[in-house]
Symmetry: C4
Subunit: 210 residues, 4 copies
């Protein structure tokens, strides 16, 4: 937990990419992953590579203000990673994945500003929730090619009391973060799992009287 | 089959975690798995680790009354594992997994006290069933943060004649057990498979006249 | 293609089990697989083992009349494998798998005696079909614990002109065969794929006007 | 990126087959994959092999006019690969996969001539699209056993302004291409992902008011 040296961070991001690809959340060159390093800079996946087949050479370093510290083209979405690191000093890992289910949900409710998970044991994976008798509000923000627009739209929800460390960009994908890359992955997995469980719930409800 | 030494049990639980994670039934740090050891104590996965990436160091030992015998923080749900070992002297392995489908089912029928599987060949995996012309009743119990409440609510169903070695906690996940960790995994796989088959059945029924 | 020696057959059946388990078609101890050997006897998976974790020691030999030629408990369904080898001298591999989708289909249409696939390019995987403008009739037979009843019920359909080398036992699973274990696996994969494609078709049809 | 020598191309096609099979897009012997070589000839998977278990020996060479340059039986669909290489000099890799979802979509809308993806961030994977506020038109063409008929039917759509490097043959499967085998795979993955996301969207819409 916490910050890492570059080599450990690179290894962690490479392995995370393999696992997200295995789940089907890293199609084509989609997704980007980052980690806060011991020196306060950020290790980040470069743009345009398949995230399921990264090597440590595909991880670059940027300063917290976005200045590249190593060669390589940072992703356009670097700004969203950095915004999270600046908003949340305790965040040391940020993941952005693409699942068909999360995107399908965000499109099925095109006006929704959030999705509220209720009554799931799995909610306890989110920091500060210790019972299933809770609500977890996943903010949903409209997509934009201007990262500043997304950041401005979502920041209030992220800073609201009881906010969970994740949000969903409509027709785009999920962001998650945590005190380590591993914790960010737990949040991502749990949130995708909750979405999948509610899709299965709808399927069973369609089975009606039995 | 039967009890094991600690090293064999730890290996079995680690491998079981890999397989359940592969199926998508071990998101984040969810799930816990245990085995009864030759000396009557219980080997158990520690809390807060990802169950798909366990090592033997993530397995601890507790006495049947819950007293920790090795360092480590046992899961809050240890009590449910121990309750099964006490109720069923023939149980030597207990697994608790989280699938989106089982949880979706339990939420789609929020008043249901059980789900009855009928007419499946797969029912024969349950002890004492030797024909598909049988019914298997999967008890469903409401979730609680008080393990004693869950235990009290589910015990009568588990002891009913013809009960199967599994139950479902609503919005939470499935428990299964057997004469070995392997048998508990067979029960878990079969029960999840039955739920998936019935979800597919609903999907095909929606295809209506053809 | 064709018959094999025991060692090659055992290896092929072990690997087939891994692949079917990967797909989710070998839950618990479900499924059994066989190959015709050079000497006319049959290599067959033993009963009660998980088919995704077989070793060559889990493969036994039986004569075409069912007499065990090596120690081990042959599956009750051995009779259905042998019936296929007797009906079809060109069959050298027989596979029996369990997918949630095939079983869901067979239960959604409880009176159906067959399922007809129409217009799929994938039909060309079946022997004797060289265009998508064809129909492939998958016989569906009710389950029974008496293998002779299943055999008697399904044999006429299997011998009908244009029959495909597969059939579905309701609430139970799929049988497939071919001139080799590999060909039987191709038929199984293609048939399961067709069923999955038609389930996805129903899903998209529910999306209605767009 | 670009053309390759035969050995590199063979390796790339073998690995691509493993990944497409992992996703369930290469059932039985379905699918065929090709790469343009440095000398202008085409490396191509042979017919009748399982694409998830290819070896470099299963890759043959043909000239751009279809003349075989090495022993082996080229797929009947070789003509469709070659048509793409002739239409698009910048295409150096062509993939043809079979997913249940793409085929299900094409059958659910039997009169559709195209499927239009709108508003997805994932659209940016297609060349020339740099915003989600775009439309990507996936041509759908009826299946035929005469490759010239398919080619004639689909070519106008492929050459239309803003066409994406992919098309769908109804009840059959998806073609994709790119400046390299890797790029063709990115297009295939992204297109299948888009289809899966829209199927999930339909699923969530069926959950209605909540």
């Amino acid at each position: 937990m916490g910050t890492m040296g570059f080599d450990d961070a690179a290894r962690a991001l490479v392995e995370t990419g393999r696992r997200l690809d295995f789940r089907g959340w890293a199609p084509a060159t989609g997704g980007n992953y980052s980690a806060r390093l011991d020196d306060g800079s950020i290790a980040l996946t470069v743009s345009g590579r398949h995230k399921g087949r990264l090597t440590p050479a595909d991880i670059m370093r940027v300063a917290l203000d976005g200045t590249p510290l190593t060669p390589g083209k940072p992703s356009a979405e670097t700004a969203l990673h950095l915004a999270i690191y600046r908003l949340f000093p305790e965040a040391n890992g940020v993941l952005h994945g693409h699942s068909p289910e999360a995107v399908g949900l965000s499109r099925a409710y095109p006006q929704a500003r959030e999705w509220v998970f209720r009554g799931h044991e799995m909610l306890k994976i989110y920091p500060g929730i210790d019972t299933h008798e809770a609500q977890a509000r996943l903010p949903i923000v409209d997509n934009s090619q201007d990262m500043a627009v997304i950041e401005a739209a979502v920041s209030p929800a992220l800073l609201a009391p009881g906010a969970i460390p994740a949000y969903l960009i409509r027709s785009h994908g999920l962001y998650s973060w945590g005190a380590s890359v591993a914790e960010a992955e737990h949040v991502l997995e749990a949130t995708e799992w909750l979405i999948a469980a509610e899709l299965a719930e709808i399927g069973f409800r369609n089975g009606a009287a039995r």
